[in-house]
């Protein structure tokens, strides 16, 4: 087990104390990070005591310490999963060779781009969500929001550590730029478009953490297989924190669904009670699921093939040995491709080129599990409505389906049909206005906004009516 230095200015288990040059560089970056948090992090609430989990190590059970903390005092640290002795590359062209502890020269640019793109999403989501505390539906949810925000901040630290340690002056410049770009900034926006829209209501927030953070999970999981061992170990530990973010979304939407279903079961109209109608929620699910699928990139991608071949990114759970061919040279992937004359044809592409599609398939199966879970709750409450996940071709702006129109069931349609059904399939302005009208803060201990059911359990075995946020 690695030694954790909790007393250092930057808590870490990477031996920063013994690397003065790196320590100085990171200590120079730290005030800039804190300024960024103050300027564009959570608006207000920084003087309140929040019941937060702080990572203090990487071992089972010991990595999460709960206490009341003011967010600016949160101990953002650098933690890597413990190394595996004699770890070997387990996929791609270099299978069987020792993993790399330094960046191979020929991989430098590609790897830096991967880390910068991943790193850019972390502060971006904090910026997107900065106003949500003002409309929190309960103290429990407010705590969850801030837990996610501080951990996304820690994930930024994780990526900045890699940039500073392995990419010299270029890496330091990239680390600075991660704080210079801002979500929605017209002149200097975040790299991925999905991270440039404000998340200003809790339906969008729970959808984001369910679907978009889940894309992040699959991207991190593919990097956790990486032959560049520091990246693999960093992302492995990030995944343990990311799990909570996705549960917040999945359970949050589940609680909204439950509240609406309870009103239905009681013979009440959800909309007159200030709850979210299920049909409206379905439109939000379609929007966020399809937008998040775009983040996986092109289904047929030579970049993805090269990242796999060179050992930078593996498939989901590649290390578990669930794939038949760890080199992915023997098989092809059947991809549905729209043609210009309005048909869909199946095209076989080499499996390596389909790595984004393979990762997307794993993501879709996971999302299907979530939707089925919500539907079981509806069944239990005697409500006939059922949620569905849109087909992977629906509403896509990246990849082979971009520029074509598909119904939520995956049927190729013309532009007129699309326009005629658009407001039935995706959130319309009246939906957004209604959701906005439901967003009122509930700061009273143990109370919940009328559109959301209380959670079944509190955080860290605390009661549901715990004073998760103390207003000073």
């Amino acid at each position: 087990m690695s030694t954790v230095d909790l007393e250092a200015k930057i808590p870490n288990n990477v031996g920063l104390r013994d690397n003065k040059r790196l320590l100085m560089a990171l200590e120079k970056w730290q005030p800039a990070f804190l300024r960024w948090w103050k300027d564009v992090g959570p608006s207000d609430f920084n003087r309140n005591d929040i019941y937060l989990r702080t990572a203090i190590g990487v071992g089972q059970g010991g990595w999460a310490h709960f206490d009341y903390v003011k967010m600016p005092d949160y101990r953002w640290g650098i933690f890597l999963a413990d190394p595996v002795a004699d770890r070997k590359i387990h996929f791609g062209d270099n299978i069987g060779a020792p993993v790399w502890n330094e960046v191979p020269g020929e991989m430098r640019n590609r790897l830096r781009r991967l880390i910068v793109t991943q790193g850019d999403t972390e502060p971006a989501s904090v910026e997107q969500q900065r106003m949500l505390g003002h409309t929190a539906p309960s103290l429990y949810d407010m705590r969850s929001l801030f837990q996610i925000n501080v951990e996304e901040g820690r994930h930024l630290w994780a990526m900045v550590y890699l940039l500073h340690t392995h990419f010299g002056g270029d890496g330091r410049d990239e680390a600075d730029a991660l704080l210079d770009r801002h979500s929605g900034d017209a002149d200097n926006p975040r790299i991925l478009q999905a991270f440039n829209y404000p998340i200003d209501n809790w339906v969008d927030f729970f959808c984001f953490t369910t679907f978009t953070d889940r894309d992040g999970k699959y991207q991190l999981a593919s990097l956790a297989e990486s032959s560049f061992d520091p990246l693999a170990r960093t992302t492995q530990f990030m995944l343990t924190e990311e799990a909570y973010h996705m549960q917040t979304g999945e359970n949050g939407l589940g609680r909204i669904i439950k509240r609406t279903a309870e009103l239905h079961a009681a013979g009440k109209d959800p909309q007159t009670e200030g709850a979210i109608p299920l049909e409206m929620l379905q439109r939000y699910v379609r929007h966020w699921a399809s937008a998040s699928m775009d983040l996986f990139g092109g289904e047929d991608s030579t970049n993805a093939a090269e990242a796999f071949a060179s050992g930078l990114k593996g498939r989901y759970r590649e290390g578990d040995g669930i794939y038949k061919d760890p080199k992915a040279l023997q098989q092809s992937y059947s991809l549905e491709v729209p043609t210009s004359d309005g048909r869909i044809e199946t095209k076989d592409i080499p499996l390596r080129r389909a790595m984004n599609a393979v990762l997307l398939d794993a993501y879709i199966a996971d999302c299907k599990r979530i939707v089925e879970r919500w539907n079981r709750e509806l069944e239990k409450l005697g409500v006939s409505f059922r949620f569905s996940l849109p087909d992977h071709k629906f509403n896509r702006h990246q990849g082979v389906y971009a520029g074509f129109r598909f119904s939520p069931e995956g049927k190729l349609i013309d532009a007129a049909t699309w326009e005629a059904h658009l407001t039935e399939w995706l959130p319309k302005q009246s939906d957004r206005d209604y959701v906005k009208s439901c967003m009122h803060p509930v700061y009273e201990r143990g109370k919940y906004a009328n559109y959301i059911a209380p959670p079944s359990q509190g955080a860290n075995n605390q009661p549901v009516d715990c004073e998760y946020v103390k207003f000073n």
């Binding site: 089972q60 996705m246 040995g321 669930i322 199966a365 879970r373």
Partner: protein
């Protein structure tokens, strides 16, 4: 290297029911007869979606889905993994077949 896997769910509900401890204890039990993970790899899994029936544990490719697993069940599960006992029948069949199928679909890769 073996491709046999035992996944212990670490979703929110299963974690609340102590899946973290169960994972460690099962791993320790299996370690006694398989220290190098040559017969099976014990891993955590983010969520199986059968939250009401947690803690959930699966064996793959055996396609055995154990539910409502407690610490007392671990020796029997470990014995089955070792080949010294039958699957623990009383822990199976508690989850709807379609929920189970979603999990196998997630784990089955055509590649």
């Amino acid at each position: 290297m073996t491709n046999r896997l035992c996944y212990v769910c670490e979703g929110g509900d299963c974690t609340e029911k102590g899946s973290g401890d169960l994972f460690e204890k099962l791993r320790d039990l299996v370690h006694q007869f398989d220290p190098l993970q040559q017969r099976i790899k014990i891993r955590r899994y983010p969520c199986f979606g059968a939250c009401e029936q947690g803690v959930n544990v699966t064996l793959y490719p055996d396609r055995i889905f154990y539910s409502v697993v407690t610490e007392e069940d671990l020796p029997a599960i470990a014995a089955h993994i070792e080949g010294k006992g039958a699957p623990v029948e009383q822990l199976t069949g508690k989850v709807k077949p379609d929920v189970e199928q979603i999990i196998w679909d997630m784990l089955d890769s055509p590649y």
